[in-house]
């Protein structure tokens, strides 16, 4: 670092009378930059168990960071006029570091204030936007203002100590700060959060800032007193529980922070069922598991994915592909109902490696039994583009941040790619969370699917659920659900329920789709917001579902 600082300054035509001082200044600037970016990324992860990690939450956090930095820059400029900018700098670093270390411990109380626990999705949906914004303000505005003031103070420190030009000092400090930001960005996402967790990331960033503050104040001979700040910071670095606890009658079996989300497995005491939940979860889950493979019944949409297998010709090999495999719930359902003389083979893509690892440990996802091949850490579209052969069934059940469908997995081009991977007569089934057949998000995806697949798409509302299944076949008609004989009375009864008025809808491939979802423009987030707004009206009976 010292040599690097000397090289950097030498390159700018400076002598380096006190290389250690220069290195310290550069390190402080870099540490503040790194802590800012690591804090920004970890902040979303800290809030995710309550508010999710949707684009809205990201926007709120980024907005607060930018607001705080703009205030901090001006405040730092003002503080730099004082007699002892280094002492002020030390105090700000200590304050920011201590607050960072404390933030995860305050998160639960803060989130509970703005998003009471126990609310169902429809009640919580209206609170998430404002709640995440208010939580970001309470938890992160103050320390980030302090960190924003660091750069002007370091510039002032540099110019006073070395009688340097302000522009030169500013350029060097900004460079160091930005390189620090770069390290904080990559370090937080790829190393700190996945390896140590959100709490330790904040604690580590806090400790570094406090250490910078202590060292910066050393010449002021206040270090021993300031070092006392380390004591509470170290205490705060102790493990803290983030995220809401399990519901009554449930216990957490495992909980991890993956690079993408917070993931946990809970077990219901009453019947031993297990659920894999991500981020905010609310009353939903990503995957379900029951002790015995087979149909889940009730409001579980996974059962419908088993229909094509149950209708497969006897003695055949049935190849199923899963985009958004999750913990393999659909696979487990299919295994339980597989006709004995049908050879079931599967390939699935799950983008979150941690989900696959937890599923193998707690939810009986096979490691590699020859029948199911799992592509962990692979995006669904990449999987589809590169997987070999065609499928008799493609299941698309991909969500990000619990409630958002990834736009690139809903466009006309994506469904065209799906068609290319379907065998003749092959089924394409997709799960879309929605509120009724008139849901704007559901309708847009169904139209894109029909246009990309060049086939009629059926929308089936799943009984006792807010989910809908989009169903189509390549070069073959989808059978009437009321007339299907799957071999399972339970599934046939649920299919028959779809035959009632208002439970299904057909979208023809020629349906108008001029403003449809394409790779160039797929405003799924806007449609999702519209869907939630409409849902509150539907649930109150003010709009037909």
């Amino acid at each position: 670092m010292v040599r690097g600082a000397a090289w950097l300054c030498g390159g700018l035509g400076y002598d380096a009378p006190m290389p250690s001082q220069r290195a310290l200044r550069l390190f402080v600037a870099a540490a503040a930059g790194a802590a800012t970016m690591a804090g920004e990324l970890a902040a979303v992860r800290l809030l995710a168990p309550w508010f999710g990690a949707s684009t809205v939450v990201w926007t709120n956090v980024i907005g607060i960071v930018l607001l705080a930095l703009s205030i901090g820059y001006l405040w730092g400029a003002r503080l730099a006029r004082g007699e002892q900018p280094r002492r002020v700098l030390a105090r700000l670093l200590l304050f920011g570091g201590a607050w960072y270390a404390a933030a995860p411990h305050l998160a639960r109380a803060c989130a509970a204030l703005f998003l009471p626990e126990g609310l169902a999705l429809d009640a919580a949906a209206g609170v998430v936007h404002w709640g995440s914004l208010a939580s970001a303000i309470v938890l992160f505005l103050a320390p980030l203002v302090a960190l924003g003031a660091v750069a002007p103070l370091v510039v002032e420190w540099w110019t006073r100590d070395e009688s340097a030009h302000a522009g030169t000092a500013g350029g060097i400090v900004l460079c160091a700060s930005t390189i620090g930001s770069l390290l904080g960005t990559f370090g937080a996402t790829h190393w700190l959060v996945p390896s140590f967790g959100v709490v330790a990331t904040f604690a580590g960033a806090g400790l570094v800032l406090v250490a910078c503050g202590v060292v910066s104040a050393w010449s002021g001979r206040r270090a021993p007193a300031l070092a006392l700040v380390l004591v509470p910071v170290l205490a705060l670095a102790a493990p803290a529980r983030t995220g809401p606890g399990p519901r009554d009658g449930e216990r957490v079996l495992a909980e991890v922070d993956s690079p993408l989300q917070r993931v946990r497995v809970v077990e219901r005491a009453a019947d031993g069922w297990r659920f894999l939940q991500v981020n905010e979860a609310f009353d939903s889950f990503q995957s379900a598991w029951k002790p015995e493979p087979g149909l889940l019944g009730g409001g579980y949409y996974y059962d419908f994915f088993a229909l094509p297998l149950m209708l497969a010709p006897r003695g055949s090999t049935f190849r199923a592909g899963f985009i958004g495999l999750g913990a393999g719930t659909a696979w487990r359902v299919m295994q339980g109902v597989r006709p004995p003389d049908v050879d079931l083979r599967g390939e699935g893509a799950e983008i979150d490696v941690a989900v696959v690892e937890l599923a193998r440990r707690h939810l009986d996802l096979p490691s590699d039994d020859g029948s199911l091949r799992v592509h962990a850490g692979v995006d669904g579209r990449v999987f589809l583009r590169h997987v070999e052969g065609t499928f008799d069934l493609l299941v698309v059940d991909a969500y990000q941040n619990q409630v958002e469908i990834p736009p690139h997995l809903a466009t006309r081009e994506f469904w065209t790619l799906c068609r290319a991977k379907l065998a003749d007569g092959g089924w394409l089934m997709a799960n879309v969370g929605s509120f009724g057949l008139g849901d704007p998000l559901l309708e847009a995806i169904a139209r894109a699917m029909a246009a990309g697949l060049h086939e009629e798409v059926r929308i089936w509302r799943v009984p006792f659920s807010r989910n809908a299944i989009l169903c189509a076949r390549r070069a073959a008609p989808v059978p009437d659900p009321a007339l299907v004989a799957s071999g399972s009375r339970e599934l046939d009864a649920r299919l028959a329920a779809i035959a009632l008025p208002g439970m299904q809808r057909r979208i023809s491939p020629g349906a108008a789709d001029a403003d449809g979802l394409v790779d160039d423009r797929a405003p799924l987030e806007d449609l999702g917001q519209e869907s939630l707004r409409r849902a509150s009206l539907v649930l109150r009976g003010e709009v037909a579902p």
């Binding site: 703009s70 703005f114 009471p116 208010a134 990503q286």
Partner: protein, 157 residues
Amino acid sequence: MLAAAALLGCLPASIPQHAAALERAREGRHPEAWDAALAEPDPLLAARARIWVAWSAGDLFGARRELHAARRVQPLDPLLAEWQVQLCLALRDADGARAALDALGSAPAAEFSRAAVEALERDAERAEHARALARIVSLGAFAGAACALYLLVRRPG
């Protein structure tokens, strides 16, 4: 992956006196049960049967559609009133549940559902309070930040 654990509730406690529809729906033959309900000459029995068939098929929106239609014709039917409370509860419609509960008066079914309706109202109230608090904090912070920026720009030294 967005799933929901039976979030749309369970079947109503009371069942309609329509043997044909009931039997077919219980066997999972909902289309036939629906046809049986349509064929019922008594309008009240037919309405009750249609609601129950839709409900037992998991189509709570359809059940509510039928219920609203039936209530317009039969506003005083106690079974329909009871179902309206339970349906609103299943759909988490606090306002609708309260209105239906008030319409039930002091009937035994009202006592049965009162606690659930009040819990639903409390949830709605908690959510509203939390949203109001979050708005105040957020808007207050932005206003404070704007003032701070103004003062720092106007009086930097």
